[in-house]
């Protein structure tokens, strides 16, 4: 093993020179950063700055147009053959995604499954875990997010905050190395947001590596170690959270903070 791959191995997420183009529009421009294991990163920036696209590139839901992404030292979506990156098979990419949890703005719980079945779906269908063990774990995770009594409720019977907590439990059930949050509270009113923020805080205290795109300052201030600030597809700040809130360097960051407090 050479030195670079050793460094990559220590990082939970490493992104180098990432570019993404949507029919002529540069959504991500040469993004580079890294996330160490156990770190919580707040990904901030105005709407349309590329936060969601960045997250969707990390688990290869979007195909990238340049650069490389590693999660836990594994190159995502491609096999490296010298100077050539060859895209992996569907099955190989799917296997890589097992280690990368994702929580969506719109929750995206499987509507035909109960809360319990949603949480079991990953372990049972993807990891082929025995049903009984998966169910026991799912019940434990439901209790952890404070919804032990909602095991048999369908998503439509749950409030937005409850749905999002089930969605977080569904992500954790896979024991992911990192969890990507795509504006987890943006579809919730302030009161329901707090339930979700509290759940995310608990995970942060447990040392879960998380990359959280958000407009919720309670998450950015309360649990983030570092802030990544994006403006129109560019990463303009990558600083410790305390520094970002005390002394934002970029003009656009100052405007953003003035708006969001």
């Amino acid at each position: 093993m050479n030195a670079t791959s050793e460094i990559q191995r220590q990082d939970a997420i490493r992104v180098e020179g990432l570019r993404k183009v949507f029919s002529g529009f540069q959504a991500l421009k040469d993004i580079s950063f890294h996330v160490r294991g156990g770190e919580v990163i707040a990904l901030l920036g105005p709407s349309g700055s590329g936060k969601s696209t960045l997250l969707r590139c990390i688990n290869h839901l979007e195909e990238i147009d340049g650069g490389r992404i590693w999660v836990n030292g594994e190159l995502i979506g491609y096999e490296e053959h010298g100077a050539v990156l060859r895209q992996m098979s569907d099955a190989a990419v799917s296997a890589q995604r097992r280690a990368i949890g994702m929580v969506f703005q719109g929750f995206n719980l499987f509507r035909h499954m109960t809360a319990l079945q949603n949480i079991m779906s990953g372990p049972v269908y993807v990891l082929k875990a025995p049903r009984a063990a998966a169910e026991e774990k799912a019940r434990r995770l439901l209790a952890k997010v404070g919804l032990a009594d909602k095991a048999d409720s369908y998503p439509a019977q749950l409030s937005g905050g409850q749905q999002q907590r089930v969605a977080i439990a569904r992500a954790i059930a896979m024991d992911p190395k990192v969890i990507l949050f795509d504006e987890p509270t943006s579809a919730l009113d302030p009161e329901l947001s707090q339930e979700v923020v509290a759940t995310i805080k608990t995970l942060a205290e447990e040392g879960q590596t998380m990359l959280i795109a958000t407009h919720e300052m309670a998450i950015a201030k309360g649990c983030a170690d570092r802030v990544l600030f994006m403006v129109s597809g560019e990463l303009v700040e990558d600083v410790p959270a305390a520094e970002f809130f005390a002394a934002p360097r970029h003009e656009r960051s100052r405007q953003f903070l003035a708006m969001h407090g």
Partner: protein
């Protein structure tokens, strides 16, 4: 001023508006129905003895059985072909998408009757022998004259099943498209492969939309089996026609055929209702 004393609740009686127009219309409809039934009974358009005699006669039951057989096998073919065409259409691959679109255009765009005649008459002329062998001098699997292979039953199933498959493909595609895209993203993010995503997440939700329309198509297809009479397939309508052309009891025999089509429809409706319970609205 602070909140005053809450007034003593007054008991009021609620009178709902009566929909007089609907009731009057309903009464008129019943009256018309009664007039028709009484007129029919007076004219003795149906002789009950003849009706019941043929209702359970061996020939008629054979025709009904054949209608159910061809209709059901064709529907099974249609569901499989339709699902494949729908997934091809959604695959994003230009060749698969194009082939699926062309299939739907041709098979939905030509009358079922022409398709049945094509499979029975034109196809064996185009390919007189069916010869299947393993390559490189391997053993011959099938070798037969095509007209012997394409029986009226096979031609009817090919004609009805492939035509119906074109409709089913659009119904299934519509059902899949109606499932929120976020469901697919969530399934993929969990690490499901494409087949797992369709099998576990997308199709079970699309089924809620697909099932009622499929019930409709199944019923339509059972009645369309009468088209197979043109290639000499012994189905219900052809058999009843054969009987009344000999004894001239046209109304009774058409009523017998209608009765069995109604029985089939009732059974399909029951299956559809059960499937809708299996895939409830969530």
């Amino acid at each position: 001023m602070s909140i005053g004393v809450i007034a003593e609740p007054v008991r009021v009686r609620i009178i709902r508006r009566r929909r007089w127009g609907a009731w009057l219309l309903g009464a008129a409809v019943l009256l018309v129905l009664a007039i028709i039934v009484v007129a029919g009974a007076r004219a003795r358009i149906i002789d009950p003895d003849v009706f019941f005699h043929y209702l359970t006669s061996g020939e008629v039951l054979l025709g009904a059985r054949n209608a159910i057989l061809v209709g059901t096998v064709s529907m099974a073919v249609a569901v499989v072909v339709g699902l494949a065409a729908a997934l091809m259409r959604l695959s994003g691959n230009p060749i698969l998408t194009g082939v699926a679109a062309a299939y739907v255009y041709f098979f939905r765009g030509t009358p079922m009757l022409i398709q049945i005649l094509f499979w029975y008459n034109a196809f064996p002329t185009m390919f007189p022998r069916l010869h299947l062998a393993l390559p490189f001098g391997g053993p011959v699997l099938v070798d037969a004259a095509m007209p012997a292979v394409v029986t009226p039953f096979i031609a009817a199933v090919a004609g009805l099943g492939l035509a119906e498959g074109a409709y089913m493909s659009e119904i299934i595609r519509g059902g899949i498209l109606a499932v929120d895209r976020g469901q697919q993203a969530a399934a993929r993010a969990l690490g499901m492969t494409r087949p797992q995503m369709y099998g576990r997440v997308v199709l079970p939700q699309a089924a809620r939309i697909i099932v009622p329309a499929t019930g409709n198509q199944y019923i339509m297809l059972l009645k369309s089996t009468s088209l197979a009479s043109v290639i000499g397939f012994l189905e219900l309508l052809r058999i009843t026609q054969g009987i009344y052309s000999a004894n001239f009891r046209v109304v009774e025999l058409l009523a017998v055929a209608a009765f069995w089509y109604l029985v089939m429809t009732a059974v399909v409706t029951a299956i559809q209702t059960a499937l809708e319970r299996w895939f409830p609205v969530r």
